[in-house]
Symmetry: C2
Subunit: 341 residues, 2 copies
Amino acid sequence: MIIDCHGHFTTAPKALEDWRNRQVASLAGGDAPKASELRIGDDELREAIEKNQLAKMDERGSDLTIFSPRASFMAHHIGGFETSATWSAICNELIHRVATLFPDRFIGAAMLPQSPGVDPKTCIPELEKCVQEYGFVAINLNPDPSGGHWTSPPLSDRHWYPIYEKMVEHGIPAMVHVSTSCNPCFHTTGAHYLNADTTAFMQFLTSGLFRDFPTLKFVIPHGGGAVPYHWGRFRGLAQELKKPLLSEHVLKNVFFDTCVYHQPGIDLLAKVIPVENILFASEMIGAVRGIDPESGHHYDDTKRYIDASTILSGADRRAIYEGNARRVYPRLDRALKAKGL
Amino acid sequence: MIIDCHGHFTTAPKALEDWRNRQVASLAGGDAPKASELRIGDDELREAIEKNQLAKMDERGSDLTIFSPRASFMAHHIGGFETSATWSAICNELIHRVATLFPDRFIGAAMLPQSPGVDPKTCIPELEKCVQEYGFVAINLNPDPSGGHWTSPPLSDRHWYPIYEKMVEHGIPAMVHVSTSCNPCFHTTGAHYLNADTTAFMQFLTSGLFRDFPTLKFVIPHGGGAVPYHWGRFRGLAQELKKPLLSEHVLKNVFFDTCVYHQPGIDLLAKVIPVENILFASEMIGAVRGIDPESGHHYDDTKRYIDASTILSGADRRAIYEGNARRVYPRLDRALKAKGL
């Protein structure tokens, strides 16, 4: 079984974007649209998935995607808590409907109604609804709800502990995932995403967070940002800071996905990061949709790179494709087992 | 000949730090210390270099270092233009003295008196003094003088053009190098430095800067941040943005150093980035000073990784060690030729 732990609903029917545009426009004055004003039929949803993500999953040979709302559309910096709360509820419900329409192919991960300067514990009702009512197996946690201004405390700060307590209670990991950058310095998918990955890893490394939460689990997407490429630097910095070896200090809690869009990058990842810390993902359909003229295949068809790796054994591949995800996402494992899988 | 294009004076006599502390303290009220109050003798300078950088250069086998003030001490976010102007002048003069004491082993690169919100053209007098009077061959340009708040425009903005005009006029490249992060989200050497490298590359990629300045040259340090590891992502993003191939679009102007502190990282760099775009560097003595228990050698002894590479030919190594630096730093080439080298 091949589980892609990182997919976003980037192909939602246009009515969703129209609704959001009305909501954003209302912030300048006027009535916000009601959630009930958004109408997307099951047929529309089915088509949006079948023609896009599902077609590519079938073509590329992946079975199940851990599916969450479009990351760049979370835009937690827009409006305040109410804005994000309504928007998150809408986006998560759509994910739930997709997972209900295609129960064997998609399982949900929630976006949270984060808002800059607002206590993260305000996200808990939405988080619990998604886990308990919708059967979601993870959350996406944005370490920078300001959208590129980085005004929140580091992820190691007690500020975030209310979320972590719920993650532990419900047995769900968080993917660390920022959203659109509204800082003109940072291109969203070419800089802000990768920077956030590197930043989060270093926040974990410099902290004792996993002493407080020994079972807390984070997936760092986009292959861990700059981290595996600079693994020697991070090992050396941990040593300077008198931290334990990274294998003890962070790798029981931190995992990297395989959203690295060329063979040498995946080869490096597989070489320096222990196999048990690597989870298959493609972020399809995402930031990079084209065909690589050098390979003749889609950049984000990351399964090809893993299959072509000369470093990984068959057992390694099975761990990356399935075993690790079932370990890191225990609710996913339970859901699969309930189906006899 | 082996040229290390990235070394900072991280081992300056303590009097320098004491002077700076007095200057910083004076910002809260009181008289700033005068530059003339800093007294460091030639013997002290010689000892600071001989016991540290020079000893390691001899031990590791590098001949010449392009040497600049300590990056994390630039701290452009502290005080205003006057603060940075006095501090830069002091730091650059020390570099000039080191280069004068060891003319065959060190050649200068300038820090600039940048300050958040201040027009970069205020840096030109210091830049020109360093090039014309001191014989420096490059500058370090901080894309984020705010120290982790990223309040300046992207490097592609006309805001920076006065600096670029002088770089072209004098034939000097800039190393893109941030300083200390005063944003608690970003660890200085583990996140902020690498993020800045990735950010700058993406700013270049999304812009037409090199149409305006076809001969402008930037060195992106720390192996280019996350860029080589995600080379497929960047090629794919350029393609989505309808930009030319990266070889045409940025690689005539952008170069990566080899400050990547493990063998797999250097192997990836050498595999995906054209050899003519790679410049030898170690950033010794810098962020990562320890010995890697996995190799038994210093993490930042990057020459070992280049020598051990099975991808690079002898000609490739010569280009990385010398030829490329002489091309990217034409004033360095001229200085060496004047010595018959």
